[in-house]
Symmetry: D2
Subunit: 341 residues, 4 copies
């Protein structure tokens, strides 16, 4: 079988670097272009020194030319810009796998509220949400994949089965997450220099973080309710990679720890990238770093009748680049885990 | 005025080190003994190299002898053991300031449930809870001070005024905290070696942590209800010092952001060690490291009708040694901030 | 071709964990046993939670039984113990790849001086030093491989070609290295708990570290002199993985920066796991983390007539497990990079 | 006695923050102005949130106005700019304590070579090098103090006495230092964002770092030779505060470990801010963090006949702000340790 020819647009950030790391060991994919307006013409090693020796350079994002030689385009562009690239790529028949937030929200209103005007609203209905464990069948034929965000991935995977099974109430959900600093991107800002992050734990955007409507949307789908309102509190923590989400759900009558275990077993027993921990163990970012795995620990607190979940992913892998490749593998009929183990 | 003569029992851990750091610059206190069974006879610098050059050695914890030469005893001993020391010290007329958990819980049943048999239950009723911003008057005459725990300090200070004012419901309270590793003490255990903590965020004891009943007790006192049941989820984060507590409270009808601000102003406007942040700012552990300050940020989420609070302390200072000295200062009629600025 | 059947002895430390990580993705190797006296019978995930779900358990180190089913044994045992295991394994015809220090020193006297009595001195002469870039040919037929230590690998690779080419003097060599804390192993000791390592840089064993005679031996071989005496100063730094060695060499008359570049090109231009950086760039641990690569930067200081080298490896990969697998691949005629890219 | 009225120019960086921290607890100094062109008019807490509640704002650097109300000016300005401010301040009779590099080098040529044109060369001869342990007498009457740099402080203090006593050769000196990231200032640059520094150790400016001529100058003064040429290799390490310098000196004939100890005792036995460690102990940044102390460990390596020294300071305290205040205390006849313990 011939290899999938992949172009990565906007490849000069941390998600771009992780995409390269993963694609370089993917046996059925071939990188045909990596673009960066700012670094066009430069060898990849000038931006990512770990790839010193690799014969690959950034090019300008010439969609028309690149479209002629690729099968799939992975967009690691800022929101807004991603949609602008998606339009001509889709027209040229390229499968688009978007890591940005542009096509994650089904509601145009929510998009406007959290991100501003949408550059290509007509595409919203074509997008499939890129969370394979929830949307695998739709992803097999998707032309436009809207990869799930990092915080949403860590929050939706452990909650959706419980909401769907009626073990947890859609009311009163709380997600409190800590993210490593690579989650802020390769952003040069005083808030992210080492001495401002080291020895620091701080919450931010505690109301209305952009991932909030995405989490609410997918939890509501799982729960089978039209809308949900939850609290999502992100924190910045002094580590490079990893998200730890602690989630509290109100248990519904009849919910037991055994039933939770059974629901998880049914949902994820066969999944390669979701690891539900034996009862009593809690998740830890260090066990998922550099992997595409989501680790889930859980318990039931009789005291308050709440289900307590801890869920960890690597924000750059399962939270971004790894998920994109997993989606690509599904779309192109490859082994879903290729390049990801 | 003559100086307060202080003995520190169990001084070889991180809280002991912080007590020494603070007492050495205290102008009205004098260290008369620091005890450590294991290190008796050794200069303090063999255990804490930062004090190299200081002419001070550990002694065996000979209560009778030490009681003759001190006015106050600060106990940095494990729970259980602290109570055993408190008995003869109190009998000898020494003011006891206990950093352990032995006298924090008013309910003997709760103590048994969380810690085991109590070695000196008859003293429970004599203890005053060592959180000066809540119990200053009682502390002025207390013989036995049960200093508030680190997580409880960070949780109770920001919530008590709101519960007391009826702005927040006693139902459905959630506290999710991250602590630096010094919070585990100077414990030699595989879980705490550097590579197991670095690049790691993990929850632990998510049900029934020993600080849970203490937090519930003091929140219930503030709320004026007999009992409360909350969720308290502690996490270990890769920093040395600092606790960040994110707290969610259900807002009561009529609660507004302005009222919250007014309640805080009344409660803490005059306090030296509580810093309520201007609306819109959130707390950060790095701004309270090595200080006795509790920093509180807050907002009101209309979306879920919850009050969101972020609260930070240094677990070794306001969460342990600093608080002990603040209590001692109050008890001995000294400037409350002496040694702490 | 049938797979190489590998047994890992002493697999419960960080080097063992890294061996498992690498062997699990090796397409021509099969793990037939992992031993741990202490953890015999336990699933690997109880010791290394990241392998949760993997169907593999520790066994007791029953050499006789294991020898029947394996082709190669990788020893991740403490020095002294490794030699005891090597003897019966070699007798049973197993290829032994030893990560310990037992067979690295050719001089029995040096071994005694730095490590104590040698349990199997008769084997010393059979061992090949496991640094493929220097001993590849001998490794092809070696029965006993003494894998190079972590600090030695980072020091010998960048200096050997310059010493051999006569560009650098064997006199006055200085190696100052910083290692991440995983270099201390998974040792439970107060010196390695998080608060003792974080925010700390400290030198240790500045005279007579056990890696000193190993570095001197291999540098002397390269320089073609009977003996060398250098300074090797190791430091502990607050990171998990990585060694950075800064090396100063006295330049010999006629040494130029161009000649250094040419010598490196000849020595390593074709090597997959040595990356000599373009002139002007310096090495960084973060670019070799989780890889089997040694990154080398260099310059020539006219001011003092010294060659300045910075060299980085991942202590667990090129400094231990990766190197072992590279040696194994060579010994068994496999692609040298299998499992390592 | 009336308090020394201090103005801090260029107070918005990390050295400025540390100056504020120290001056606020100084009992004989009063802050009359803190300037920041960029932040003029803003409360100090907007730049340094830890000072929330402090009634102090940045002002524009109006030298003429400020000179009327202050006795001392501490300059925490970039080099070049500092000299421009020093001129009018000195003319107005203000004592100037400069943290920049502008007046550290006695040789105008060296300044030009490393920094460019000097804005006020006529002042060079008036400056006293601000390293109290070496220049205390001159500092008592200095109008212009050129505070020693951070790396130089950590290198000169442990070597000067040995060079002066003839125990160490001025030939072949090597200084290899690791600095925490605050040493780079509060600089917003991709190289200093958290994920680029964490899990990273890297050398930089290994030839011709700007602190090199300063170190060489002061070592030469101590050694009583006209010039010295040394190697100085700085590294960036993942910690906030602290410099660890490992220094190798060639021992002169007759040098013994006892003589080194005696020389240190004579030089520093009475010093409050230099802590020569008992023989066998090595320095650690964590024991000097947030202190004005320089910690020195040493040994003699018979093997190579080199003296090995490890020396640690807090780069922001003894390496910048603390040293400035120590110099100010000396100049104004105050207790040298005021504000620094």
């Amino acid at each position: 079988m011939s290899k999938v020819r992949v172009a990565v647009f906007g490849a000069s950030g941390y998600a771009g670097e992780e995409l390269l790391r993963l694609l370089l060991r993917h046996r059925q994919a071939e990188i045909v272009a990596i673009t960066s307006r700012q670094n066009a013409g430069k060898p990849v090693s000038t931006v990512f020194p770990r790839f010193t020796g690799l014969d690959l350079s950034f090019t300008a994002p010439d969609v028309e030319a690149i479209a002629k030689s690729c099968d799939a385009a992975i967009l690691a562009l800022p929101h807004g810009l991603a949609a602008e690239f998606a339009v001509p790529l889709l027209e040229a028949g390229i499968k688009v796998i978007d890591i940005s937030a542009d096509f994650r929200l089904r509601s145009l209103d929510k998009y406007r509220q959290y991100y501003g005007e949408h550059p290509a609203p007509e595409l919203l209905s074509r997008a499939v949400y890129g969370l394979p464990e929830r949307y695998r069948e739709q992803l097999r034929t998707a032309d436009l994949v809207a990869c799930a965000g990092c915080y949403p991935t860590s929050s939706i995977l452990p909650t959706a089965p419980l909401l769907a099974a009626g073990l947890a109430s859609p009311e009163g959900v709380i997600v409190s997450s800590c993210s490593g600093v690579s989650g802020a991107g390769r952003k040069v800002d005083q808030a992210y220099i080492f001495p401002e992050c080291n020895e620091s734990i701080r919450a931010y955007s505690v109301k209305g973080h952009r991932h909030l409507p995405e989490i609410e949307q997918e939890m509501a789908v799982a729960a089978g309710v039209p809308e949900m309102a939850i609290n999502f509190i992100p924190h910045l923590a002094p580590l490079n990679r990893g998200i730890n989400s602690t989630i509290l759900l109100n248990a519904m009558p009849g919910c037991t720890i055994e039933k939770i275990g059974e629901v998880y077993e049914r949902a994820y027993g066969h999944e390669q990238f979701v690891r539900v921990l034996p009862f009593g163990r809690l998740a830890d970012t260090k066990y998922v770093a550099m992997t595409n795995c989501c680790e889930i620990g859980y318990t039931l607190d009789d005291h308050t009748n709440r289900i307590i979940i801890t869920s960890c992913i690597d924000n750059l892998t399962k939270g971004a680049a790894g998920q994109a490749i997993q989606c690509m593998n599904i779309r192109f009929g490859l082994d879903e885990a290729e390049g990801l183990l």
